[in-house]
Amino acid sequence: MHPILKLIAQRLALGLLLLFAASILIFVGTSILPGDVAQSILGQSATPEALANMRRELGLNDPAITRYFSWLGGVLQGDLGTALTNGRDIAESLGGRLKNTLFLAFWAAAISVPLAIFLGLLAVRYKDRWPDKLISAVTLTTISIPEFMIGYVLVYWVAIKWRMFPSVSIINDSMTLGAKLNAIAIPVMVLTLVVLAHMMRMTRAAILNVMQSAYIETAELKGLGMLKIIRTHAFPNAIAPIVNVVMLNLAYLVVGVVVVEVVFAYPGMGQYLVDHVSKRDVPVVQACGLIFAAVYIGLNLIADIVSILANPRLRHPK
């Protein structure tokens, strides 16, 4: 087997292992901690009988390991359990919401990734001149403000003062794509702003790092023009770090989605999660937590694999 395939197989196995460990962590986080789920659900005034009933219903009397494996077994078969608060099947409620969340994240990524790479290149091109300085100042500002505040600032100006887009983003399946996009315009803007700065800054650093290599000087001393140098010498070496940057920020985007959905009352997974955290609906929280963790681990895994594929030393071993 080509050594690179072996390496990728290793990474995939490692990713699965990590996901497995993460599922244990999530389960442990919700069941072994001192908080009593039954007590939290029923409140302080619950009668001892009600508590005992609830404990039995939740299977809390079984040992934690049994509960974990029955939960994991269910998850592997697509059964995420039922919500405590309304008794509905979690997988069913999640399906549509997951789709909505991915819809929002997709458009945020589709706008922010090309924009960030373009602006990162711009910052490199005008290094230490005003566009570069402006970009780093804006970066500093946006990483210093939490997502929800960017959200409300935009709502205040764009939705209320200028009346360009709606301040609440409620979508359903019967809407046309245009109507949906109009509804999510402001949340997409917020998410773009949230990841743009980081992505731009990291892209800039990655490209600068490549541009300072000795082989770029060699290319310059061959008399090649800047554009040709970037295209033929810098780009092949910059792919891996840039993909890495993009993946890291998409992973960050996933977290940003949670908060932004709450701000805009958007019917996605993030809002669903936050809602059920306050209602202490543990099965829902476990399911959502696991899905978010899976997406996060998956994106990091892709970044890893791309770096391996792009490394000539690994692709062409001695």
Partner: protein, 545 residues
């Protein structure tokens, strides 16, 4: 008279430094240099670090590296002043008329592209040759440069060939577009000495075969004497002396040139071995954790009190590992070490403090050997306090004595390492070792990072201190000139074994074993025609076999 290929007049080069938190400062690197280079000739530029030689070399392509800027003067190439040309025209010059070979081929090749593509790129881009012609030419150059499998080596990626081979590929890259002038910037400095001679011979032959002119930049006068027609000596951005190779080597006029020529002329009378060695290494074998081969194989050497054992070898020979085993950083898997009559514990942690005190170490990079947050006084004072409990005035007095011994004198106690020059840093490290009043000092490549004249000063100091303090040295080096200058006995190491060991006079006299012969004959001598002689000798020997 015909116009020279390269004519430099009043060349001034500067740079801007940005000390953090302060205003940018303009620095002058080269203050007005003049020289000519005829077509097909080779001019050697020589000087220590900071002499401005690389900067001048790149100025022949009107190129400033990093923040370096050409601030004045004229550089005429093929009859036009290239400093007045626009970038468009400069691009037609670079990679076509003038090309460049850097010190580190490993960094200068793009890791993502095949060697052939990179070697032929300039020739094709500059419309000198078609792709087919350029590739044929590259294969021809690979062959001339003595590369293995010249037809196919171009299909490899840079990391798939060795350092010496890649350096030759870089030369092919520079010669492929059929330039008028090649700038060689320390092309053999990063190579081992036995590799250097082959690359040097290959470069010289390729220059002769193509009739190209060259600027050959190096800090090693013996190397430049082999390849150049003329030599220009530079110091701190000024030209010190210019002349033919013969004149510079055999009849240098300026004091600085004379110093450079005679730099390796320390002569040290070998002492006779005593009966009781201070350190005896017996049957030592060692390997690193998690590896499955021995880095050291059955090593036996002695060091006698007040004498120097030089351990010489190339990178990967195991010479630094030997130091790690002796100091206890890497316990040997077999064998034992006796120090001053007592058996040393293999593990550093279990050695008594007295053993640690009597054996001190000096490192190659003085920069990283001193804590940047401690003053010279603290650095030298710590062993005094730690081993002898010296405090207050007594300690201060002893520190000053030590500073006097290493010829630094007053006012250094409160300085930080960053405020010292390279040579001064190494002296402080020597003082720190001496402070412990050791019987043995292990010197690991202590002069390799220094300029020749500075290194010379350090060697003289070490010899002097040996007389005064009666301390023994284990001197690890790859440089045979240093060995000649300082050793009483020598151990030659190759692939983890000691291949030759004995008093200096014996080790350095024939008959030699094959490796020692190769090593000794590969060290450039400051003699015109040495390279040809050596290569010729080797050819005759191999033909004789």
């Amino acid at each position: 008279m015909t116009e020279p290929l390269l004519k430099v007049r009043g060349l001034k080069i500067g740079a801007t430094a940005y000390p953090p938190g302060e205003k940018p400062v303009a620095i002058k690197i080269v203050h007005g240099v003049d020289f000519d280079l005829e077509a097909g000739k080779v001019l050697g530029l020589i000087g220590e670090s900071g002499a401005g030689k690389s900067t001048i070399g790149l100025a022949a392509m009107a190129y400033g590296r990093g923040g370096v800027e050409i601030t004045g003067g004229e550089v005429w190439v093929n009859g036009r002043d290239i400093l007045k040309e626009n970038l468009r025209n400069l691009r037609r010059l670079r990679g076509a008329e003038v090309t460049y070979v850097s010190q580190s081929a490993a960094a200068s090749f793009n890791p993502a592209k095949k060697i052939m593509e990179q070697v032929t790129e300039a020739a094709i881009f500059q419309n000198k040759f078609t792709k087919a012609e350029a590739e044929a030419r590259a294969v021809d150059l690979f062959r001339k440069l003595g590369l293995p499998n010249p037809e196919t080596i171009g299909n490899r990626y840079p990391h798939q060939v060795s350092g010496g081979q890649l350096q030759r590929c870089m030369t092919a890259l520079a010669l492929c577009p059929e330039p008028d002038l090649v700038v060689f910037d320390e092309p053999t400095t990063a190579l081992d000495v036995t590799t250097q001679i082959d690359v040097l011979a290959a470069i010289k032959e390729a220059i002769a075969a193509t009739g190209v002119a060259a600027l050959y930049i190096t800090h090693d006068l013996a190397v430049v004497a082999q390849v150049s027609d003329h030599i220009m000596v530079l110091q701190q951005g000024d030209m010190v002396e210019y002349g033919t190779v013969d004149q510079i080597i055999n009849n240098p006029q300026e004091e600085y040139t004379q110093a450079l020529v005679s730099v390796r002329s320390i002569r040290h009378e070998e002492k006779t071995p005593s009966d009781n060695p201070v350190l005896r290494v017996e049957n030592v074998t060692a390997r690193y954790k998690g590896t499955n081969f021995d880095v050291l194989k059955n090593i036996n050497v002695d060091i006698h009190p007040g004498q120097t054992l030089a351990v010489v070898g190339e990178s990967g020979s195991g010479k630094s590992t030997l130091a790690r085993v002796i100091t206890g950083l890497l316990p040997p898997s077999d064998g034992q070490i006796t120090f001053d009559g007592r058996t040393l514990n293999p593990e550093l942690a279990t050695r008594p403090i007295e053993d640690l005190r009597e054996m001190q170490m000096i490192y190659q990079m003085a920069d990283t050997a001193m804590n940047p947050r401690q003053t010279v006084g603290t650095i030298i004072g710590r062993p005094l306090e730690f081993y002898f409990g010296l405090k207050g005035k007594a300690k201060q007095q002893r520190i000053q004595e030590l500073l006097d011994e290493i010829e630094l004198g007053q006012g250094f106690q409160d300085r930080y390492p960053a405020e010292l020059s390279g040579g001064q840093k190494q002296r402080v490290c020597i003082a720190r070792a001496l402070a412990a009043k050791p019987k043995l000092i292990i010197c690991d490549e202590v002069t390799s990072a220094l300029d020749p004249l500075v290194a010379d000063g350090i060697l003289k100091l070490l010899l002097n201190l040996q007389k005064i303090e009666d301390v023994a040295y284990l001197f690890i080096t790859h440089d045979l000139a240093t060995v000649r200058a300082i050793a009483d006995s020598i151990a030659v190491m190759y692939q983890g074994k000691v291949v030759r060991y004995g008093p200096k006079s014996e080790v350095l006299s024939p008959p030699f074993d094959a490796y020692t012969d190769l090593l000794l004959s590969s060290v450039p001598e400051m003699k015109i025609g040495w390279l040809e002689e050596t290569i010729e000798n080797r050819r005759m020997e191999s033909a004789g076999n």
